[in-house]
Point group: D2
Chain length 297, copies 4
């Protein structure tokens, strides 16, 4: 084979290989990210969820980003009260399947891998099992991203995300900052203790993490506050969204709200009505978790 | 314990057991039947599918009956051409889940458990795996009904369902009746040979079963026709719906249609454009298969 | 970078890439084939199974070939009567997992994808789901081979495999050859009718296929024999192994054996006690099915 | 209906219902508990595992109790060095299936639902999917028990189980008690922080929980010890078994063992070589978790 024909041969090879790649890209081109939130019926709180959706769309412009609400109650309120229809995760995935999407990343907006994360996980795993008539998976790839607090690095990022509020709310002697999470009977509830442990490592015993429905309860937090000689408490919702729980169970005026109970125990109390989704650094943790799955492809 | 108190005790027991049952019935009240057809884009052929839906609604009035089309191509044609939206099986099940249905029977309208049946089976099994946040199945019961030709009894019912047409189309010397099924590479394709075997047991070698895409092919049927000295052939579509295949591949005027090929081979040919769903006795087999699943509850 | 250092750099790159490949090969090296038979308690019949095992070992010398018996009853007889222990499919796979095998082909020796094939399929699928602590599958690959009669090509191979016996047993006027399969209530039972259909296409109406427990029954075969004016019938077991069914239900002297019933109906009857595993051409079909899975890797 | 006949009718009803129950009990009679430990190659440490097995056999005498070791390395050491064969979880379940057991409780001896728990979970779920030829599950029931620290009640039981050692090792000013767990990258690692949180709630800041491979590390514990003015540290292994990690990583004389590092940091250090399985109160938590599953039946 002379030089010219060699070059021609290689040129043809390159053409063939390139066209294979183009073909493969065409075949795989419809990719989507499903942002799976629990949902909120408070319009002013929905900004937390919208921020994540916007950040995902900005970070991954080549992906279709869709949103689902897992809570049937919230979907019903939004529909009946406001005429707003937001898909359930199952319906959102069904539509993506119908529209020919083949590669899906499901990113739940949960804090940890508790009950609601496992619901989304079971739905994701179920869609991974569905096959077309040729026994090929309907979605050639469908994977789930991690919740907010998964790796030790996630906790460290949460520490940094809270830095400014720590400065703002614990600058004076007697100031303490109390994060209030949802809490759950699920064993993943232990994330709250690990978060407090890591926060105190960085900021000392001026920051505490309690929960509404799990451990530590408000009684447990009251005990811990006594040990540190606290006087002024700032309460912050440690949830994606500052919705019903934030407005009533934490910052409400009812007799059993955290604000009321702490006031009755002699503390000066202020509350901040901001969901984690209003802090870009928390949003970034979920975006990082999407990117982790993308990079595994 | 005297007689009166014994009666009272037993009476209370019965009351308790009964109330459990009432409670259980209330809990399970939203039940649906999903009729899962492949679909058709021919309006005049859709009657076959509508007949099954109507028969199911009549037979099981306490159930919500919904319809899905499995073919993405047909759904797209209906939507783009006619503005008609029919759900995919996944979307239909997603909606039932969203609306709080808990007990589902999926009845595919396939002839046998081939590729498309297995698609619906994989979707049904996937929905059976989905769990709510309390780790309870989203559908407390979701099962799939059998395709048309499953048990030996089904084949016997098909024999009876074809009785009138056998009389009509094979009354004269030289008459033969040829059923033409879709056919598939899937091993379940063997149902066509078993159907012919059982039909010939009852009606003798005046009836044959061929397929468009599987075994026996038109060449195989031509060989068999020679052995029986046939002169006049009536072609009948052995598919739920007499749609595209019936109108073109079987009864069309193209050079390679069954009608043309048989005519060229010297046979007098007539065709009957009726889907199996236009014969109440075939519809009844699918309805029986729904009832089989209901009775297992 | 001068020429020498460029060469050295490329040399090192090649070394690195090569060692990766060697490492990968080492990681994946333990591969096995599990031959999953129903089993037999007749030593003289076991040769059919042994032939498949030997043929697999000869065809795929780089694979470990292991054997399992699915029937608990047969395993118990062999153990209690003869002290012979043959693993169940679950135990055989468990041992392969324990010994660090990572790539498995399960080849069932069933005739068609009926009840026993689906048992092995469910076990294979279950092992495919097992994960190690790193969430990696315990078997990086575990797939199941097709049963004997799956594609149309398989049926054609069966036609050829029976060629010599057709000549031997149907050379004279009035000779017919009847294959007797196990038969099942499972819809896959229709394979027997398709086999007869294809055999008659090649050999004419001198060959029939009946079953002990499915359709066509002996009564159905008697009806068909009348139509062809048969006088002498040779009965052959259409099962992997000529065990209990062959020796008693088919060729036995009991009042309801096929031999007795056919004799009473006036036929001259001879039987051939050979399992399909004693015919190399049938063995080869199963070996081809293993090769199909290997080539998909 | 008079009084007598009413009583008779109800009596018959009760008899029928009772006999159903007896029948059901007979059908389900072969039940087993699989104790799934990671395993140890230290004979003197194996007592922790044996204690759980004995306690399970004592608590549930009607069940067959079997033991498996999950670690392939440890099984290999035991086999090669001592000729002792202990089944893997897969092999143990395979044998139970072969022997006709139909109801299985798998109780892993893990501390939390981390990587190794999920391995056992995937194996348990896989066995739950296996079906016999009649499409019935091979095990009519197979469920998994919770790891040691699952519910808040489990943590409270752990607090009580450690009461005596708290008294013994923290009676003097400057005494602290440090539990050292294995630790993991898995998010379930947060259980250690929750355990410390709950222990400190009861016993004050005299008790700490660190880990070898997760958070908190020895450096994190050193920071916390500084804050409480500790002088004497007692190190206790917070693992089922005081094996390799306990003897080397915690209490060993190597430069990087916890004992050595703490000594170098100026603390007086003593170690206690006891696995959690040597404390009946910890054993009881796992036994309670088996009982939880039994009571759900």
């Amino acid at each position: 084979m002379n030089c010219k024909s060699t070059i021609f041969f290689l040129f043809v090879m390159v053409l063939i290989l390139t066209s294979f790649q183009v073909y493969a890209a065409e075949q795989q081109e419809k990719s989507a990210i499903l942002i799976a939130a629990f949902g909120t019926s408070y319009h002013e709180a929905a900004i937390s969820i919208e921020n994540v959706v916007k950040a995902a769309q900005k970070a991954f412009p080549e992906y279709t980003v869709v949103l689902s609400y897992g809570s049937r109650t919230i979907r019903k309120i939004l529909k009946d009260r406001d005429g707003i229809i937001i898909d359930s995760p199952i319906s959102a995935l069904a539509k993506l399947a119908d529209e020919g999407y083949t590669s899906i990343i499901v990113q739940p907006l949960q804090i940890m891998s508790g009950s609601e994360f496992h619901e989304i996980l079971s739905i994701t795993n179920a869609f991974a099992m569905m096959k077309d008539p040729h026994s090929k998976p309907i979605f050639s790839r469908i994977v789930i991203g991690s919740p907010l607090l998964t790796t030790e690095a996630d906790y460290e990022k949460a520490v940094i995300a809270l830095e400014e509020e720590m400065k703002q709310y614990t600058s004076k002697e007697g100031d303490v900052f109390v994060l209030v999470g949802h809490g759950t009977e699920h064993p993943a509830n232990s994330c709250y203790s690990q978060l407090q442990n890591i926060l105190q490592k960085h900021y000392g015993p001026k920051v505490f993490v309690g929960t509404i429905e799990g451990y530590p309860s408000i009684e447990d937090i009251l005990l811990q506050l006594k040990n540190v000689d606290a006087q002024r408490v700032t309460l912050k919702t440690f949830m994606l969204v500052a919705g019903d729980h934030a407005r009533n169970d934490i910052a409400g005026d009812e007799a059993d709200s955290w604000k009321t109970v702490l006031k009755k125990s002699g503390y000066e109390v202020q509350t901040t009505l901001e969901g984690l989704g209003e802090n870009d650094k928390f949003v970034q943790i979920w975006i990082d978790h999407i990117r982790d799955r993308l990079s595994e492809q």
